[in-house]
């Protein structure tokens, strides 16, 4: 029973908003029949439009078309709820869409997630801070290094350690190369979804170049566990400048292939221009970040607006689109690859020398050679890999710009060697809320193009 609204039906325990009359009267609870009239659309703010428009299908997940009635003829006004199940041709992971169709037009939709839920936040509570990067890196598997970066930055903020400049610049180099490989891989899967298998081959080819460099530096092609609290795991190998230069020169030249194949191609343009447009105000209200927000015209990039690492010391442009359609999202990402190449070239010039991790022995292990010589080094090594780091009590939120948007880490420490709570704010999880608005009113054939342009990575959506 709702004490504040005694005439509410049983089970309706919505609370009212309290003293704020103006806000309360314009909310959806007040738009029952017989109560307030709706304000005209142009006088309604995007927040209220998002609530009123009802692009989201709010039904339980089991309510899809019963196969036994699938052959029933559908009249002109009837709608059908179609399930695009977790296993489907689109290459974007185990995302399930429930779509309400009237003919071929999508009325409402609902992304159903959870098919890749791994309990990583719970696992993170069971791992020490030294082990934590191995867990976090597997969330967004297209770009593992920003995951490790945000976790390490959060731990370092709790600890209050300064990391040396070379470590900062190495982190920046690796994250920008990862942005290149992620966007190029996105272009590959996007092309594949729009039936351009050549694009898939091109994108995989470029991604492989970057991954070979990563294997040289970190030992692994993916899920590197390289950026750790205190710095990075190992220094860049000799000859890295030539390798990086070869990578960016090759990728930069091959972007011309993408332009020839897709950007100027009429079929691609017809399939992506004007498809999946929504206003930037609605995207902001739905907390969208990253290329989908920038393609709608909002110049918000954490690297420029709230710089971390050394992004305020390098020169790059924030790419902003105009129409906010699928083509703009593609163009934004492709141009971000060019900007990342520009940043990487500047890092090649400006990379400082020095330590690649902090010298604070309570945070990073001593060099292996010293363990034979010094008892203290042996003890530090032992304690670090058994007990680990113990940051003081506190809570912190740190965010970086991953290729998908704002990737944040909210870390709560209770003074022990394991996090009390590790929450990762995954950009794709939040961007998926915009999908019903993007799909509404479009055709079912556009659904794959729009989903692909939002670039969800289900590993970080489900964690």
């Amino acid at each position: 029973m709702n004490a504040e609204r005694p005439d509410a039906p049983p089970g309706d325990d919505r609370v009212t908003l309290g003293a704020d009359e103006a806000l309360r009267t314009r909310l959806i609870e007040a738009t029952d029949e017989g109560a307030q009239e709706l304000a005209p659309v142009d006088e309604t703010s995007p927040v209220e439009l998002a609530i009123e428009q009802g692009g989201v299908l709010r039904l339980p997940e089991s309510e899809t078309l019963d196969p036994d009635v699938a052959d029933a003829a559908f009249g002109a006004g009837e709608t059908m709820i179609l399930n695009v199940g977790p296993q489907h041709p689109s290459t974007h992971g185990v995302l399930r869409m429930m779509v309400e169709l009237q003919g071929e037009t999508i009325l409402r939709s609902k992304p159903v997630i959870g098919y890749l839920h791994t309990g990583m936040e719970k696992t993170g509570e069971g791992l020490t801070y030294v082990q934590g990067a191995t867990n976090v890196t597997r969330m967004d598997y297209f770009s593992p290094l920003p995951n490790e970066l945000v976790y390490s930055l959060a731990v370092e903020k709790l600890l209050g350690v300064e990391i040396p400049p070379r470590a900062t610049w190495i982190r920046m180099l690796m994250c920008e190369l990862n942005r290149i490989s992620s966007h190029v891989m996105w272009a590959a899967t996007n092309g594949m979804d729009l039936a351009s298998t050549t694009m898939m081959i091109f994108g995989l080819r470029e991604r492989d170049l970057v991954l070979q460099f990563f294997e040289k530096v970190t030992g692994l092609r993916m899920n590197h566990n390289y950026i750790r609290p205190g710095g990075v795991a190992a220094d860049l190998p000799d000859g890295w400048e030539d390798d990086v230069e070869a990578v960016v020169d090759t990728v930069g030249a091959r972007l011309r292939d993408y332009d020839n194949l897709l950007t100027r191609q009429p079929i691609f343009r017809e399939r992506t221009e004007g498809v999946g447009v929504v206003s930037p105000e609605l995207l902001l209200a739905l907390s969208a970040t990253g290329p989908i927000l920038r393609a709608a015209g909002v110049p918000w990039d954490l690297r420029r607006s709230m710089p971390y690492l050394a992004y305020d010391e390098v020169d790059f442009d924030v790419i902003v689109g105009r129409a906010g359609d699928c083509f703009d999202r593609y163009a934004v990402r492709l141009n971000e690859v060019r900007e990342s190449i520009r940043i990487v070239r500047q890092i090649l010039d400006k990379m400082p020398s020095g330590d690649y991790r902090t010298q604070d022995k309570k945070v990073t292990p001593p060099p292996r050679a010293r363990i034979d010589e010094s008892m203290e080094a042996l003890i530090h090594h032992f304690k670090l890999f058994t007990r680990g780091i113990e940051p003081p009590e506190g809570e912190v939120y740190v965010a970086v710009e991953s290729p998908r948007g704002e990737l944040g880490c909210y870390l709560v420490s209770d003074g022990s060697n394991r996090p009390m709570r590790m929450h990762i704010r995954a950009p794709s999880f939040v961007n998926l809320q915009s999908v019903p608005a993007l799909l509404q009113g479009g055709l079912i054939a556009d659904m794959i193009a729009i989903l692909s342009s939002v670039d969800p990575v289900l590993g970080e959506v489900d964690r």
Partner: protein, 168 residues
């Protein structure tokens, strides 16, 4: 009571809300009953985007450092808001007691909190009053229990020859 936070000069509703500085972040502790009012006021003060909403279970660490005037409870709903114009963030921490794990839903102020609140319900068991679709989002719909709570086991399967015992 402790001094009000820096935003209280701009946002009147924050005048009596306890404030803490957490490693450079501004953190406010509104009570549940005033939570939406404070959030609405911050939204009108240019904090146009809700970056993150999550729930934290302090079962094993109830005696955490809190400013004066804040009664510690088992659960907290933590909201990170972002102001693009100022390029600044503010954090709200709302105490939610164990015996009554209900919190008003932020959906009416920030629609972008919908999925985040569903996740907090699914994994932590906090019900959000006024949420348009209060159902599980990550676990199967018929799952019992809230896995991220500190008293919910990890669910480890014993592995042969693993010498060291797990953390729990």
């Amino acid at each position: 009571m402790a001094a009000p936070g820096p935003l209280a000069t701009r946002v009147a509703q924050l005048a009596e809300v306890p404030f803490a500085d957490s490693l450079g972040d501004e953190v406010y502790f509104p009570i549940r009953e005033r939570y939406l009012e404070v959030a609405g006021a911050l939204r009108r003060a240019d904090f146009d985007s809700c970056s993150d909403l999550c729930a934290v279970d302090y079962l094993t660490h109830l005696a955490r450092p809190l400013p004066d005037g804040v009664t510690p409870e088992r659960f907290e709903v933590v909201v990170n808001l972002l102001s693009r114009r100022e390029a600044s963030r503010v954090r709200l921490r709302v105490m939610v007691p164990e015996h009554d794990p209900v919190c008003p839903s932020l959906f009416s102020v920030y629609p972008g909190s919908e999925n985040m609140e569903r996740e907090a319900y699914d994994l932590m068991g906090i019900r959000f009053a006024g949420h348009p679709d209060p159902s599980r989002i990550l676990m199967p719909e018929d799952w019992e229990g809230h896995p991220l709570r500190r008293d919910y086991g990890m669910g480890r399967v014993p592995v042969q020859f693993k010498g060291a015992p797990g953390p729990r």
